[in-house]
């Protein structure tokens, strides 16, 4: 059995999770601080991948990054970068698609902390950044872990977006979910079963490790 789709899937999920931690933490913090119309609109845009059919998101990403026009043409002409049918393209699509899974739990956890925690830190002369790093972030550790796990697990199972923007190029964009689909199309049920079992196992271990880690600390990832 060709293991490259599994390795590619794990690589995609790991990179997406790390990137989303870097991008998602400050965005979630900013969104949690106060409400304004602009924030509501941005939050709605971030939440869209939860309800939008993945193929729709993938279709628009395919159009946006097509090397024939728009951003895609500019990226190719200026930086010699092609996102469509490439691994970097898969990463970008995954980051956009999994954004709500990272930001939602972190924002919600930050909003549940008593405002007096940050206020107490400010009166000690600490900046907002120091307060976030030393006071807020350590107290939402369990939720950050939950968000990272959900993002990782969600990326493992991506299909529609990945197929639209990445296609099915072995070793480049052919992730496990596409390998399963491809195997079924070719009536190779034993390969489909093998890929599916491995995906099931990895996802189960990922989710159960969060339950164990958060046993006394946080709600289940499904709450």
């Amino acid at each position: 059995m060709d293991l490259s789709p599994i390795i590619l899937t794990l690589k995609l999920a790991a990179i997406t999770t790390i990137l989303l931690l870097v991008v998602g933490l400050p965005i979630a913090w900013w969104l949690s601080k106060s409400r304004s119309i602009i924030k509501l609109i941005i939050e709605a845009i971030i939440t869209m991948p939860l309800v939008l059919p993945p193929s729709v998101l993938g279709f628009y990403l395919l159009l946006a990054f097509s090397p024939q026009h728009g951003i895609g043409k500019w990226l190719r002409d200026v930086f010699d970068v092609q996102l469509v049918f490439s691994f970097p393209g898969l990463i970008l699509a995954s980051v956009i698609y999994s954004l709500p899974f990272m930001i939602g739990p972190i924002k919600s956890a930050l909003q549940q902390l008593p405002p007096s925690l940050a206020q107490a830190s400010y009166t000690l002369g600490k900046s907002e950044r120091q307060t976030f790093i030393h006071v807020l972030l350590p107290n939402i550790r369990a939720s950050v872990l939950t968000a990272a796990t959900l993002t990782f697990a969600h990326t493992l199972g991506e299909f529609g977006v990945v197929l639209m923007i990445g296609g099915n190029i072995p070793g480049v964009t052919r992730v496990a979910s596409i390998a399963v689909y491809d195997a079924v199309e070719n009536q190779d049920y034993s390969s489909a079963n093998a890929y599916s079992l491995i995906l099931f196992g990895i996802t189960f271990i990922t989710v159960i490790s969060v339950f164990v880690f958060n046993k006394y600390k946080a709600k289940s990832p499904l709450e």
Partner: protein
């Protein structure tokens, strides 16, 4: 001298009302603030600390303008750096007693002195969840004192302490306040609390309705 002249709307029980305070408080004094629930005592402390913004007003502390809404001046809480004891302590769940104090100051001698005053030496490596209500309250007071603030604002700071511990702690704190020339504002519901210790008392009446 601390000069306060503010007007802040309060939104309690869906009734819009206004907190109006004009006071001159001598530097280095201990002032008790009392009044009915919902009158705006906590809000007043938060406005002084820069944690809440009034619609109108001026606050000057030792000849420095902290707030002047007419001229658009409003120092941040970090610039005002008051000591603040929150009503429910607002301790950091991730930090031990010692880490709370180290977060506020680097002065190790001062930290040791504070731990002794609060009788928390034996609990230095405990997190708040393992402290009793009284120990948590003492830690909140020590943390607020750790920065040696010129102005200390305390919101019901002694409510969870037993009488003996309270008397001892207040005596020690009084000595420190005198030494550091700290101006202290204490919100308290208990008429007996701080009797014979505070030099001034401010009554905050029920706020003016219909702003």
């Amino acid at each position: 001298m601390i000069s306060i002249d503010i007007e802040k709307s309060l939104n309690s029980h869906n009734n819009l009302s206004v907190l109006q305070i004009t006071q001159e408080i001598p530097a280095g004094s201990i002032t008790k603030i009392y009044g009915p629930s919902g009158a705006g005592k906590t809000t007043l402390l938060k406005v002084i600390a820069g944690l809440a913004k009034p619609e109108k007003g001026k606050i000057r502390v030792n000849d420095i303008t902290w707030l002047d809404t007419e001229n658009g001046i409003s120092l941040s809480p970090q610039q005002r750096k008051v000591g603040f004891v929150f009503q429910h302590n607002a301790l950091f769940p991730n930090m031990t007693v010692l880490q709370h104090l180290c977060y506020a100051t680097n002065d190790e001698t001062w930290i040791k002195q504070l731990l002794t005053i609060g009788k928390l030496e034996a609990f230095a490596h405990q997190k708040p969840e393992y402290l009793s209500g009284g120990q948590q309250q003492r830690l909140a007071i020590l943390r607020a004192m750790a920065t040696k603030p010129q102005l200390l604002l305390m919101d019901e700071p002694f409510s969870a302490l037993d009488p003996e511990m309270k008397t001892e702690l207040i005596n020690d704190l009084q000595y420190l306040w005198k030494e550091l020339a700290t101006t202290v504002l204490v919100v308290s519901h208990n008429p007996q609390e701080l009797k014979g210790i505070f030099q001034r008392a401010i009554l905050i009446k029920s706020p003016v309705a219909g702003a």
